[in-house]
């Protein structure tokens, strides 16, 4: 059963406001919300974007989607749940304002720029008795849930995770890659990877980062991790290369591999599925954990809607993500140059100098 095919097991439907109508809203949230509207999970949907034209375009994808005329109109609205899918730099401020105005929030990752900001938002939600969830959509995948179980049964000794592809996201301008936006590769893809690793194995006691930004935005990134129980790991992220390898986990009893945690099976070294009968219930949804990205997104929304109605606990609450946010902020600040091994000596010297210069500017 696909999550989108199900009817809401409770009434009344939840009214939602979608904040930010860029590519994520257009490509993912609008189709998912349309499904949930049809299934009675969601009632009215309003949309807000700094560009009313963009909001109108996304509204057209939803039956009776209305556009909020201003940010103030969003804050004064009667929706119970706000979904924040705006540019990352605006997340923390918008989440704070929405919580202060009494709305439950589901925020796209990263929901805060550092640990302190993340903790203060979690505290605020707790004080107000509101829900604050983060879009860690991969936690809703069958493979992520299965790996969590398998790795809790037997500690891994080593894991290698390669994830990346040439950048195809429909950005509006090269300003998306402005160095002021920080290491977006780390925060975009790395957020998911680090969140899952912490979910499965706990917080690593060593975490180091190298990236290839030389006065601009990183295209390639390498994370090296170690856990107190002896497991070590390497995560390679790229916006330039097709990394088909996915995740490979070594355990004393054998290797597990998963090409794509959101969409592919977990396999043993024999290439057979690791646990064909495994099924994970997601609280609030009649469907089990997903096998496609879109299923996972719908499951996440059903879980949050169920939590708003008080019938399910959050599967990815913000307090679970605080450690990951803290880890990413720390490694980003201490990241060193990931050197390109095909450069000449002269180029390498220049690359190091550019990197050092960029770090000085950043610390100023």
């Amino acid at each position: 059963m696909r999550p989108g095919d199900s009817r809401a097991p409770w009434t009344p439907p939840v009214n939602v406001v979608l904040v930010g109508c860029g590519a994520v809203a257009r490509s993912y949230y609008a189709p998912a919300l349309a499904q949930l509207l049809a299934g009675g999970w969601v009632g009215a949907v309003r949309l807000f974007d700094l560009s009313p034209a963009r909001a109108t375009k996304v509204a057209a994808l939803l039956p009776a989607g209305a556009v909020a005329p201003s940010w103030e109109a969003v804050l004064e609205g009667r929706e119970e749940l706000a979904i924040v899918a705006s540019p990352p730099v605006a997340h923390a401020e918008q989440v704070r304002a929405l919580l202060e105005h009494g709305m439950h929030v589901l925020c796209e990752k990263p929901f805060a720029p550092d640990r302190a900001a993340a903790e203060s938002l979690v505290d605020l939600a707790r004080e107000r008795g509101l829900l604050c969830a983060v879009g860690m959509v991969r936690r809703f995948s069958r493979s992520a849930c299965l790996l969590r179980q398998l790795l809790s049964e037997e500690c891994p000794t080593r894991l290698v995770w390669h994830e990346g592809s040439p950048f195809h996201w429909p950005v509006d301008s090269p300003a998306y890659f402005a160095p002021e936006a920080g290491n977006r590769l780390l925060w975009d893809i790395g957020s998911h990877v680090v969140d899952l690793l912490i979910w499965w194995l706990g917080v690593p006691h060593e975490l180091a980062c190298r990236d290839d930004a030389m006065g601009g935005a990183a295209t390639n990134c390498l994370l090296e991790l170690a856990w107190p129980d002896g497991c070590s790991g390497e995560v390679r992220l790229s916006r330039e290369y097709d990394f088909a390898g996915g995740l490979v986990v070594e355990r004393p009893s054998g290797v597990l591999a998963c090409r794509d945690v959101a969409e592919a099976d977990v396999l043993r070294a024999s290439h057979e599925p690791a646990a064909p009968d495994f099924e994970q219930r997601i609280p609030g949804s009649p469907a089990p954990a997903g096998r496609t990205f879109l299923d996972c997104l719908e499951l996440q929304l059903q879980n949050v809607l169920g939590a708003v109605r008080g019938v399910a606990p959050l599967w990815a609450p913000a307090e679970d993500v605080v450690e990951g946010v803290g880890a990413l902020a720390t490694v980003e600040a201490g990241s060193r140059l990931l050197e390109s091994p095909w450069l000449s000596r002269r180029e390498l010297d220049s690359a190091r100098a550019l990197r050092a210069g960029a770090c000085e500017v950043a610390s100023c």
Binding site: H162, G164, P166, F167, H168, W169, P170, V171, D172, S173, P174, Y176, F177, P179, D212, A213, M214, G215, G216, A217, A218, T219, N220, R236, S238, R239, E240, Y241, D242, F243, A244, G245, S340, P341, W342, L343, S344, R346, E347, S350, A351, L354, A358
Partner: protein
């Protein structure tokens, strides 16, 4: 410092040119890409990247504003290859850039060129591989636009460009890993290879040397490299034996009727005609075409190389680079062994499973 726009800055040669010239402070580089997302790789340097389609003269002229010279390293389908060179020249002239360096290809001479062929040899009009024909048309349109606008131009005709980010290398490595890699006639044909840094070096000379204006230059490495010499280090790096690479027999150097039919879909005029075929007839036409293909390649038929690969890998002629040496002072700075070392290092960086012994120091 010269301000140089690089069209196709996200491509294989363009991205290396941007990287090297920026890091070596050889020029103030302005990357030009077709869509904003394509800027991802070059923007790790925080450069002033501009977005323009090389077929849109007005937008491109705006993107080239303030540039002294333009390097056209863009690649694309037929329309792009044939029309963008002239469009780039006109846009450069409008923007006030004084020089255009165009990266053409040795392919304009055909890979079955007669011994003695050089830059002075008239380019053949007919080529069995469409890309070669398009490149000839692109060169001609560029020269004509330069004469009309009074723009200084230099055409470089590199052979097989290899190195970090090369499809020749990455594509072959993928094929090795999938077990589908092959060479034709033992890979003994002349590869006419040029390491990407050596090509970038030639581009720099083309911009600088006065005597280069209005000329075309064949450029290749000093080393006489065969296809096997190019590909064997890739196999070794991946821990595979050369025996894992199939050795296929060459095929007749002309397209089959099926390949001709497929090539039609790239022809704008034929496309217009095809689009006029009533929808109801398209399925039966496709069925006939598929049957025709099936007749050509029965399931038990021996494996056959693509036409282009067969022609490329049976090339018996090493194109001369004497003119480039004489007028440009071209001497490739990176030797083949070092080029292979850097290329394998890139394979490792790009996530290919390079075997332990082939990995460099961390």
């Amino acid at each position: 410092m010269l301000r140089v726009a690089v069209i196709g800055a996200n491509g294989f040669v363009g991205s290396r040119l941007v990287e090297q010239w920026h890091l070596e402070e050889r020029a103030d580089v302005v990357p030009v890409v077709r869509r904003p997302g394509a800027a991802a790789a070059v923007l790790r340097f925080g450069l002033d990247c501009r977005v323009a389609d090389a077929l849109d003269e007005r937008v491109l002229a705006r993107a080239l504003a303030g540039c002294d010279a333009v390097v056209h390293a863009g690649a694309g389908p037929r329309t792009f290859v044939t029309q963008s060179p002239a469009c780039v020249v006109r846009a450069a002239a409008k923007a006030g850039a004084h020089t255009v360096v165009y990266l053409s290809s040795m392919a304009v001479h055909g890979w079955q060129a007669r011994p003695g062929t050089d830059e002075a040899t008239p380019l053949p009009r007919r080529h069995p591989v469409s890309y070669n024909r398009w490149k000839v048309r692109g060169e001609r349109a560029l020269s004509s636009a330069c004469r009309d606008t009074g723009t200084r131009f230099v055409i470089l005709r590199p052979g097989i460009v290899y190195g970090p980010r090369s499809q020749w290398i990455g594509g072959f490595a993928r094929a090795v890993l999938e077990g589908s890699a092959y060479v034709v006639a033992g890979g003994r044909g002349a590869c006419n290879a040029i390491y990407v840094d050596n090509l970038v070096h030639a581009v720099g000379l083309a911009l600088e040397r006065e005597g280069a204006a209005g000329e075309a230059f064949l450029v290749a490495d000093d080393d006489a490299v065969t296809w096997r010499m190019l590909y064997e280090p890739v196999c070794r790096a991946l821990g595979r034996s050369w025996d894992a690479v199939a050795d296929l027999a060459p095929r007749a150097p002309r397209p089959t009727p099926g390949e001709r039919l497929l090539a039609l879909t790239d022809d704008p005029a034929a496309r217009v005609m095809l689009d006029r075929v009533p929808r109801a007839l398209r399925k039966p036409v496709r069925r006939v075409a598929v049957r025709r293909f099936a007749e050509e390649s029965p399931p038990d038929a021996p494996r056959r190389p693509t036409l282009e690969t067969s022609i490329l890998q049976t090339c018996g002629y090493r194109f001369p680079t004497a003119k480039a040496r004489r007028l440009l002072g071209f001497a490739p700075p990176v030797a083949f062994d070092e080029a292979c070392r850097r290329t394998v290092a890139w394979l490792d960086f790009a996530g290919y499973p390079v075997a332990g012994a082939a990995r460099g120091p961390a």
